[in-house]
């Protein structure tokens, strides 16, 4: 789960990290009031769950409440990579001497947690990783004991930080690690972590992503979810226990299993179609799940055809067929659909569907080819 910059900053503050305390505003008036309260130059930052805010014009300076109001009115409501800006963070301007990157991530290859730091702060770290990888320094946390103090100091020394500033940097690195672990994060980063002109450390921008599987034990973090930021259909799917991702194509997919769902999308693409979604109804493919899934898929006005691809495993195909029929009956799809049903008792299952006038195809390539043709015809 993604949370906003200002929420991440509040979490980090709770672990002792010095943050550049700002004020959240949702209207130009609030932006002006915040700027007035903070005084001097302020920075106004769009709060959206996507990167590249700066390049998109979502981060701007203002030197007076009036200017802040004007900037705020431009940023609020702006679209950044498909995300509408509903909130901005108004924060004091900072006199920056140097900028660093500090991040904690799950390192899948090492099956552990890695702490990363770079003197190339304030820019996209993935770009740094690609272009000047030698500028990123890494420490692997011990799986049981965590991030040793000496490792935090070693990062500071490798960044060339002066002896009198090493302690402060190392403390923030350890606090960030602690915040990461205690929040069950999959990412926690400060970018930039700045050294101000008066030689103090300040987290200017922070980002935290929470492990979805761990949210159940963090009801406080679950509260930070911004429903405005999430796709309505994805929210509905999650509530229904379905795994759904909205895409831009025209062919709706209802599949059991995540890998099979992806493979189905790939097959559609191979035959020249564009999937409208990823949708995993789960291994069992019960009638209720399929019905919910169909409703969600058909709610997308872009959908011109639907491919239902079910591998009957433990659940027999005849049962799946009956479930499909009742689901189709309940939903009454208005676009063409192609059903592929394979597995235990597949002949019986297909006969049931055939009796209802529904043709079932045999292989995934065939199903993909047909649904792409159907979507083309429907266009």
């Amino acid at each position: 789960m993604n949370i906003h910059e200002y929420q991440a900053a509040e979490i980090l503050k709770g672990y002792g990290i010095p943050i550049n305390q700002g004020i959240v505003a949702t209207t130009p008036d609030e932006v002006a009031a915040a700027a007035g309260q903070l005084g001097g130059t302020v920075v106004i930052k769009a709060q959206v769950h996507t990167g590249g805010r700066g390049k998109a014009g979502g981060v701007k300076l203002a030197h007076s409440p009036e200017e802040a109001r004007e900037v705020g009115s431009r940023i609020l409501g702006m679209d950044i990579r498909g995300h509408t800006v509903h909130k901005v963070l108004v924060a004091p301007g900072v006199n920056i001497a140097r900028e660093y990157y500090l991040g904690v991530v799950i390192d899948r290859a090492a099956r552990g947690i890695t702490i990363m730091a770079s003197s190339a702060g304030g820019v996209d770290i993935e770009e740094v990783a690609r272009e000047t990888p030698e500028k990123i320094h890494r420490e692997a946390a011990h799986p049981f004991l965590g991030f040793h103090d000496y490792q935090a100091r070693r990062l500071a020394f490798r960044l060339g930080i002066e002896p009198d500033l090493v302690g402060g940097f190392a403390r923030i690195a350890r606090q960030l690690f602690e915040a990461f672990v205690q929040s069950d994060a999959s990412l926690a980063e400060i970018n930039p972590l700045v050294l101000t002109a008066d030689r103090t450390w300040l987290a200017l921008d922070s980002k935290i992503t929470i492990d979805d599987s761990a949210l159940v034990r963090h009801p406080d973090l679950e509260q930070l979810r911004d429903l405005q930021e999430e796709n309505a259909t994805e929210l509905e799917a999650r509530a229904a226990g379905l795994s759904f991702v909205k895409l831009d194509g025209t062919i709706g997919c209802v599949v059991n299993g995540a890998g099979l769902s992806m493979a189905t999308m790939d097959a559609i693409k191979r035959y020249g179609g564009e999937p409208a979604n990823f949708l995993d109804v789960g291994g069992g493919a019960s009638a209720e799940q399929v019905e919910k899934a169909l409703r969600l898929v058909l709610a997308d006005p872009n959908v011109r055809a639907v491919l239902i691809n079910i591998f009957g495993g433990i659940t027999r195909c005849d049962e799946v067929a009956r479930g499909l029929l009742s689901a189709m009956d309940a939903v009454k799809p208005t676009v063409p659909f192609v059903i592929r049903l394979v597995g235990t008792n597949q002949d019986e299952g297909r006969r049931i569907l055939a009796d209802a006038g529904i043709t079932v195809v045999d292989t995934m390539p065939e199903a993909a080819e047909r649904v792409v043709a159907a979507a083309g015809a429907a266009a």
Binding site: A214, G259, L260, M265, I268, F278, F311
Partner: protein, 289 residues
């Protein structure tokens, strides 16, 4: 021959009295798996489908000689169930449970690694040696004994491929679902090494998906250490970056983990990558000559 599970498997079911545990116990017994014990704290003295239930894994091992365990307990309790199995000396632990927090798995992974046990999963369908033992939730009947070893991060997609192989007359030595989470106990490389060493396996199918770099590592490993033919299949060519595609581990992040990279790595290691289950079967048939 085969790998990991066979007629010597003496299976313990952790969480046997739960809905999932009980259902799949029946399915596994029906397939012919030697299910010797179940564990549910407080359940001692009960039986489930004729299988005796114990309070602790230690007791179950002592009383029944269980050497393999399959875990069906909810995510909250699954790490503890794995620790219990490890500490009781269970050699092979298969964890079906989904949604175990990643930071729990960091600890579990290294705990298991320091022990003498092997963990398959979590969030996996389990594994099967056709005709000998099914330790998982896959439909047994689609499998048939034969020379093809399968290793996969996926569930139904594996069934799809197994089904295609069986229909094409190509049986399987063992099919291993290693799981769809970011951190899993047993990787492609581990299983590839076992298939390479297994005389019954003559060709290997590896089914990957987006996320992480385990397929790339597998490609390197194949190049250096695998003499048997390997056929690949990678799901998620069309997946967008930054979105979790069902499995917690199926996500392209930081520009890493794309299907294109994985396919390129496999091709560079001499592994053809199929575009459908049917094509997997064709490529395997070609490889077997």
């Amino acid at each position: 021959m085969s790998i990991l599970v066979d007629r010597q498997t003496r299976l313990l079911v952790q969480g046997i009295t739960g809905r999932e545990g009980s259902f799949h116990t029946a399915q596994m017994i029906e397939y012919g798996t030697n299910v010797v014990a179940g564990v549910t704290p407080g359940g001692a003295g009960k039986t489930v489908h004729g299988v005796p239930v114990f309070n602790t894994v230690e007791e179950a091992v002592r009383e029944t000689g269980a050497n393999t365990s399959i875990i069906y307990v909810p995510a909250r309790f699954a790490p503890d169930a794995i620790y219990e199995a490890v500490d009781a000396g269970i050699a092979l632990i298969v964890c079906i449970t989904e949604n175990i927090p990643t930071l729990d798995m960091v600890k579990v992974y290294h705990y298991v690694k320091q022990s003498g046990s092997r963990l398959i999963g979590p969030n996996c369908p389990g594994l099967i040696t056709p005709g000998q033992a099914k330790v998982g939730i896959m439909p047994g009947y689609i499998h048939t004994p034969g020379p093809v070893g399968l290793v996969s991060r996926s569930g139904t997609l594996t069934y799809e491929v197994v089904h295609a192989l069986t229909q094409a007359g190509l049986g399987q030595s063992t099919a291993v679902g290693i799981g769809g989470d970011p951190i899993i106990g047993t990787s492609f490389v581990d299983v590839l090494g076992m298939f390479e060493a297994d005389p019954a396996t003559r060709a290997i199918v590896m089914i990957g998906e987006i996320g992480g770099t385990d397929e790339e590592r597998a490609a390197e490993y194949i190049k250096a250490h695998v003499s048997k033919p390997v056929v690949g299949f990678i799901a998620g060519r069309t997946a967008p970056p930054g979105k979790r595609m069902g499995h917690a581990g199926a996500i392209i992040s930081g520009g890493q983990g794309t299907a294109a990279e994985k396919i390129a790595a496999l091709n560079a290691a001499g592994v053809p990558v199929a575009e459908s289950a049917q094509q997997v079967a064709e490529l395997v048939r070609e490889a077997l000559g």
